[in-house]
């Protein structure tokens, strides 16, 4: 009997002593958590998405508490309201946090883009990409298998007609979707820009057009028509500088392939007589 009692008693005793020692130590060595940091942490959303550039909300709160010059506007989830709340805790001026959203740079839906194959493999973009570089003829575009939609913690992405579509009302611009996309079709851009190039193809015009009727062919008409010199064409692909763009929408009208989307313009058949309120832009965001 004692052959089992002694070991049990000994291990229990060691465990008990260690527990007591650790409990006492945690009282003696207690380091008071900075009150400001605790308050900051309470304000932060706690999504731990890392979009602020720190390893989670705790880390951001610590960094802010240690040095307010880090900036209160780093959190895209909380946006401007959070920046002000954080600034109020710290007693500093809020820095403007520009709301950001994800932009899908592809409109190669099932009607426009050619597919290479009848893909029956694993329904993820990453798997499809392994097979001859993807199932669509255009190697740069959205494959529409929805890795981004699955990854989005806010449910802001849907696959509509074979292309990822971002709901701008739900999107917070955290950038998780952009990391998932094997073709890097998704870009994080300021939400104020309502005119976007919906193409990612760096192929020459003729090739791009052959693969997808909505492709940017790099003709440069948009760059010529832009009054603010906001558009540059590089690698057969138009790029709108978000800083310079004034959302006038001239380029969208000029584009021969409708590769540029103007979200402010009323959609011809889709959105009939709605007033141009912000809500009217939201339903078909991309």
């Amino acid at each position: 009997m004692s052959s089992i009692l002694i070991p049990v008693a000994l291990v229990s005793a060691i465990g008990f002593v260690l527990a007591v020692v650790l409990t006492i130590a945690s009282k003696i060595f207690f380091v008071p958590v900075d009150e400001t940091v605790a308050k900051l942490r309470a304000e932060l959303p706690g999504a731990n998405c890392g979009a602020c550039g720190f390893a989670g909300c705790d880390d951001y709160a610590n960094a802010l508490g240690a040095d307010p010059s880090v900036g209160t506007g780093k959190c895209p989830v909380g946006g401007a309201a959070l920046a002000e709340a954080l600034a109020a805790v710290l007693g500093v001026e809020a820095d403007s946090s520009e709301p950001q959203v994800a932009v899908v740079m592809c409109n190669g839906n099932n009607d426009a883009a050619k597919t290479l194959m009848e893909y029956q493999g694993l329904k993820t973009c990453k798997a499809a990409k392994q097979l001859f570089g993807g199932l669509s003829a255009c190697p740069y575009g959205c494959m529409g298998l929805g890795d981004c939609a699955v990854a989005c913690p806010y449910g802001a992405i849907q696959i509509c007609n074979g292309v990822a579509v971002v709901n701008r009302e739900l999107c917070v611009g955290c950038g998780i979707c952009a990391k998932q996309c094997p073709n890097s079709v998704i870009r994080i851009a300021p939400a104020k820009n309502k005119v976007v190039v919906q193409c990612n193809s760096k192929d020459k015009g003729a090739v791009a057009r052959k693969n997808c009727s909505n492709a940017c062919i790099g003709c440069g008409k948009c760059a010529k028509v832009c009054k603010f010199e906001a558009i540059t064409v590089e690698n057969n692909l138009a790029f709108i500088d978000p800083e310079k763009c004034k959302n006038c929408g001239l380029c969208a009208k000029e584009c021969p392939t409708n590769a540029i989307l103007n979200m402010r313009a009323k959609r011809k058949p889709a959105a009939p007589a709605e007033a141009p309120t912000p809500a009217a832009e939201a339903p078909k965001a991309e």
Partner: protein
């Protein structure tokens, strides 16, 4: 056995990572950057010496009761509690060191190399001083392996001549194998 030969032997000949294959997880996981590799290595030296200092006397107690077979479970218990205690103490008294060791300190609580060195001290029949020297050497050997490997990995980073199928983990494992093979050249030194 002299202390110097114990030290040299455990650093080069019986290197815990490269010859005994203990502590492979942090060896592969934390060796991407040189500074974090050094941080981890220093933390391992620190914990190995402390753990040996605590577990060697406890083994004598266990032996007295004739229950030496409880070694493993008691050692794990003691090492985990010890590291926890040290972390709290460091946080209070030497915050700078606590910050430098960072996440690695709690991480190595459950590292098999730490437990391994404590057990092998007993198995080899070392006395207290020899055990401490052996643990220090094991930690230094770990640091050495980490630093060497992080240097090799920095050359792999962004290297375009690696075939696509070998990029990432495969080439890292192959490299680790070569480093281990290289260390076999030290066998028979001590």
């Amino acid at each position: 056995m002299g202390l110097a030969s114990i030290l040299l032997g455990v650093i080069l000949v019986n290197n815990y990572v490269l010859a005994q294959f203990l502590g492979i997880c942090p060896f592969l996981g934390v060796s991407k950057k040189l500074d974090s590799a050094v941080g981890m290595g220093v933390a391992v030296i620190f914990v190995m010496v402390l753990a040996t200092a605590a577990t060697w006397p406890i083994q004598q107690v266990l032996n007295n009761f004739g229950i030496g077979y409880l070694q493993t479970i008691v050692f794990i218990l003691v090492i985990a509690a010890l590291v926890q205690f040290v972390e709290m103490a460091l946080k209070k008294f030497i915050p700078s060191l606590h910050k430098a060791l960072g996440v690695y300190l709690p991480l190595i609580t459950t590292n098999c190399a730490v437990l391994g060195v404590c057990i092998s001290n007993i198995d080899e029949g070392y006395n207290y001083i020899q055990s401490l020297v052996n643990s220090t050497g094991a930690g230094i050997g770990f640091l050495l392996a980490m630093v060497l490997f992080s240097g090799m990995r920095s050359k792999l980073e962004g290297n375009t001549s690696i075939p696509a199928c070998f990029q990432g983990v495969p080439i890292t494992l192959v490299t680790a194998a070569f480093l281990s093979l290289g260390f076999m050249g030290f066998s028979g030194l001590v």
